[in-house]
Amino acid sequence: MYKIVRKEVLNAQVKFLEIEAPFVARKAEPGQFIILRAYDEGERIPLTIADYDREKGTVTIIFQEVGASTRLLGSLNVGDSLADFCGPLGVASHFEGVKKAAIIGGGLGTAIAYPQAKKLHSMGVDVDVITGFRNKDLIILEKEMAAVSNRLIVTTDDGSNGTKGFVSDILKKLIDEGNTYDVVVAIGPPIMMKVVSDVTRPYGIKTIVSLNPIMIDGTGMCGGCRVTVGGKIKFACVDGPDFDGHQVDFNELIRRLSIYKDHERAAQERHQCRLEGKINA
C-alpha cells in the first residue's frame, strides 16, 4: 500500500514523490491536501496535493526537507512504501467565472500552485504565473509551469537567474501595466502570502491563499490548525486550506507555526542517527 512509484530531486532540499493511492487519486482536486506517515510511530504530516493521476491511481507530493520527519520521508526511494496516506482532505479550490488569473508560487509553494494553474489553464483561463526563489539553484517546476500558463515569470531574490525581485513586486507591476485579474492565487511562505494580499487589497482583486498550519488529524478533530479569518476562528483542515487572503490574520498564523521550534531542533539531532543508520544500511 502507498508505494512510491517515482521520485525526483527537484533541488537540494525539495523532493518529488509519486505515490500509489488510488482512493485519494480518485477524488483529489486542486487545493486539497493529504496526511501521511512515512513509517509507524511517525508524525502525521499534512501536505498539499501537487498533482494526481486518476487513471494510474497516483498522487504526487512535493515537499521540502525542513525537519526530521520530512528528511526521513525524503530518504525513501522508489519501491518503498509509506505507512499511511489519507485524503483527499480540505475543500477544493473553486474558480467559477474566472477569465484571467495570476498564480503566484513562492519557493516550495510553487508545487502547490501548480495544480491550480493546471486546472485553470485546462478551463481555458488566461493564466499568468509568477514564481519566486531565493536563488537559481532552488528553482523548481519551471518547465511544468510554462506548460500550463500563458506567461511565466520566474524571479530570484538575488537575481541569479537574470530576473531579480520579489513575486509581489512583479505582480504589482503586471497589475499596473493594465493586466486585470479576476483572481490572484498566492501560495508560499506566510509572509509572502501576506505581502501579496497587501498588494492586491487596494485594487480589490480577489486573492486566495492556501494555508498549512500545524495539525494532527486533518478532519476537524484537534483544532490545532485554527486560524483567524475575518475575525472568526476557522479550522484550516475542514474550512480551508484556501482562504481569502485579505481576511487572514497572517501574524497569528506565523506565530502559531513556531510553536514546536524547540522540539524540532531536538528531534533533528535525534533523527540524525536514525537517518544515517538507514542510509548506511
Binding site: 489519507c86 497569528e252 522540539h263
Partner: protein, 463 residues
C-alpha cells in the same frame, strides 16, 4: 455465606505520588482471592436490578456467582455473551450511575464492585484463555461501519457473528476511536484495546484505516460499492472553544488535540516524533472526564501545578467520582465556581495567564443544574503557561455535509431512532456520540449493538 462487609474489597492502585509521574495504569486490578472475596458480597437477588442498569444487559449476578466459585473462564464467557469489550467497560464505565447504582448492597454500604469484577474476569481471560473464534458461515451481505470507536466495534462484533461481511472505515491510521486517541494509557492501556480489536479481526472483520467518510468515500458511494447497509459511529470529535479573547495564543490546546498528541501519537514518550508542549503551570477548563484526563496527563508530563477551572461547584462536576478522587490524590488543584473570561499572552504570543471571574450559583437551568452567575468585582488572574479547553465536543460535519438526505438536529447530531438507530436515510443507521453528542463508551456500545440487530432485520426484510 455472603460476605456482609459494607465496603468493597479495595483495588490495589499505584501510589498517587508515583503514578502522577508515569503513564502506567493507575488501578492494578484484583487478584483471584480479592475477586472471590468481593464476588461473595453479591446477594444474587432474584429481581436482578443491576442488569437493568447496564446498557448492554450484562448478566451480572450470574457472572459474579461464577467468580465466587472460582470459575473465571465461565464468568468471562457469561459477560461476553452481551458485552464484546469487557476489559474496556470494566475500566471506563460509570458503574456508579449504572449497574452499581441499582445494587441492593448499595442501600446500606457500598454496592458490589461490579466494574472491578468485570475487569478482573476480562483480564483473567486475556491472560489465561487461548481465544478461539467460531467462524459463522458468511451470508454474502456486506455492511459498512464508519468509525472504529466503541459503537462501531460493538456493531461490527455483532454483525460478524450474524454472518455479515463487515468493513470498518477508520479515518485515523489506528483503529479504536476515542479508546485510543482520547482515554489515556493510565486509565485504559492501549495494548488492551488492540487485543479487543485483534479479536474482531480474527473473526473476519476488515478494518480500513485512512478512510475519511465524507472525503475518501461518501455514504452513497458505499452503497455503490455493494454495501447493503451502513452504520455511522463517527463520534463527536469536533472540539468546542469558549470564544474568549486569547484562544489562539501559543500554548492553548483543545483537550482533543492535547490528548490525541499524548495518546494516539505517544507524545508523552521522550523519543516520540510528535511534539507536545510540556507546560509548567496548566489550567484545564471544564469538569468532565475528558478534563480530568487532560489534567492528569498534564501533571504526568511534568507540570508543577495543574488547575481544573470549572464554573459550577464540585457537586455539579460531570466527571466520574473515581476520576475526581484520583485527580485530587495526584495533586490537581480544583478551582470551582471560576469562569475564564480571557487568556493573556506575552509579546511573543505565548500564554502567560488565564483571567477568570468567580461565580455564584443561582436558579436551576434547563439541565436542572443551578446556573452560575458572575460575582461582582471577582476578576483575578491564574498564572499559567498552558490552557487546555475541555468544554465539550460536537459531531464532525464531514458526513452530514456530504449526505444531504441525512437528517441532523440543531447541534449537528444525526437524528436516529432510539431503539434501532435508523436514520432518515434508508439503509443508514447511526449510534453513539454521533447521535447523542458526547456521552459514554457503554452507551455507544449499546447503540452499536441495537443497530446491529436492526441492520440484520432491515437486510433480511429486503430479502
Amino acid at each position: 455465606m455472603p460476605n456482609m462487609s459494607l465496603k468493597k474489597v479495595p483495588i490495589p492502585e499505584q501510589d498517587p505520588q508515583v503514578r502522577n509521574k508515569n503513564f502506567d495504569e493507575v488501578a492494578l486490578g484484583y487478584t483471584e482471592e480479592m475477586a472471590i472475596e468481593e464476588a461473595k458480597r453479591c446477594l444474587n437477588c432474584k429481581h436482578k436490578p443491576c442488569i437493568a442498569g447496564c446498557p448492554v444487559n450484562v448478566q451480572i449476578p450470574e457472572f459474579i456467582s461464577l467468580i465466587a466459585e472460582g470459575k473465571f473462564a465461565e464468568a468471562y464467557e457469561t459477560i461476553i455473551q452481551t458485552n464484546s469489550l469487557p476489559a474496556v467497560c470494566g475500566r471506563v464505565c460509570p458503574q456508579e450511575t449504572q449497574c452499581e447504582q441499582r445494587c441492593v448492597r448499595g442501600i446500606k454500604g457500598e454496592p458490589v464492585a461490579i466494574g472491578r469484577l468485570e475487569r478482573f474476569a476480562a483480564d483473567w481471560a486475556m491472560k489465561h484463555l487461548e481465544k478461539t473464534y467460531e467462524k459463522t458461515p458468511r451470508n454474502g451481505k456486506k455492511v459498512a461501519v464508519i468509525g472504529s470507536g466503541p459503537s462501531g466495534l460493538s456493531c461490527a462484533g455483532d454483525l460478524i457473528k450474524m454472518g455479515y461481511d463487515v468493513t470498518i472505515f477508520e479515518a485515523f491510521h489506528t483503529a479504536g476511536g476515542v479508546l485510543v486517541y482520547g482515554i489515556p494509557e493510565f486509565r485504559l492501556p492501549k495494548a488492551l484495546v488492540q487485543k479487543e480489536i485483534d479479536g474482531l479481526l480474527a473473526q473476519g472483520v476488515e478494518i480500513r484505516t485512512n478512510m475519511v467518510i465524507g472525503k475518501t468515500f461518501t455514504i452513497d458511494e458505499l452503497f455503490q460499492e455493494g454495501y447493503s447497509a451502513v452504520f455511522i459511529g463517527s463520534g463527536a470529535g469536533l472540539p468546542n472553544f469558549m470564544n474568549i479573547p486569547g484562544e489562539n495564543l501559543n500554548g492553548v490546546y483543545s483537550a482533543n488535540e492535547f490528548l490525541t498528541r499524548i495518546n494516539l501519537m505517544k507524545a508523552y514518550k521522550n523519543d516520540a516524533d510528535t511534539p507536545i508542549k510540556r507546560g509548567k503551570t496548566v489550567a484545564v477548563v471544564g469538569g468532565g472526564n475528558v478534563a480530568m484526563d487532560a489534567a492528569r496527563s498534564a501533571i504526568r508530563l511534568g507540570a508543577d501545578k495543574v488547575y481544573i477551572v470549572y464554573r459550577r461547584s464540585e457537586k455539579e462536576l460531570p466527571a466520574r467520582l473515581e476520576e475526581i478522587h484520583h485527580a485530587k490524590e495526584e495533586g490537581i488543584i480544583f478551582k470551582f465556581l471560576t469562569n475564564p473570561i480571557r487568556i493573556l499572552g506575552d509579546e511573543n504570543g505565548w500564554v502567560t495567564g488565564l483571567e477568570c471571574v468567580e461565580m455564584e450559583l443561582g436558579e436551576p437551568d434547563a439541565s436542572g443544574r443551578r446556573r452560575p452567575v458572575v460575582k461582582e468585582g471577582s476578576q483575578h488572574i491564574l498564572e499559567v503557561d498552558t490552557v487546555i479547553i475541555s468544554i465539550g465536543t460536537s459531531p464532525n460535519p464531514l458526513i452530514r455535509g456530504t449526505t444531504p438526505d441525512l437528517e441532523t438536529n440543531q447541534w449537528g447530531c444525526i437524528v436516529a431512532d432510539e431503539q434501532t438507530g435508523q436514520t432518515s436515510k434508508e439503509g443508514v443507521f447511526a449510534g453513539g456520540d454521533a447521535v447523542t453528542g458526547a456521552a459514554t463508551v457503554i452507551l455507544a456500545m449499546g447503540a452499536g449493538k441495537a443497530a446491529a440487530k436492526a441492520i440484520d432485520e432491515y437486510i433480511k426484510s429486503k430479502g
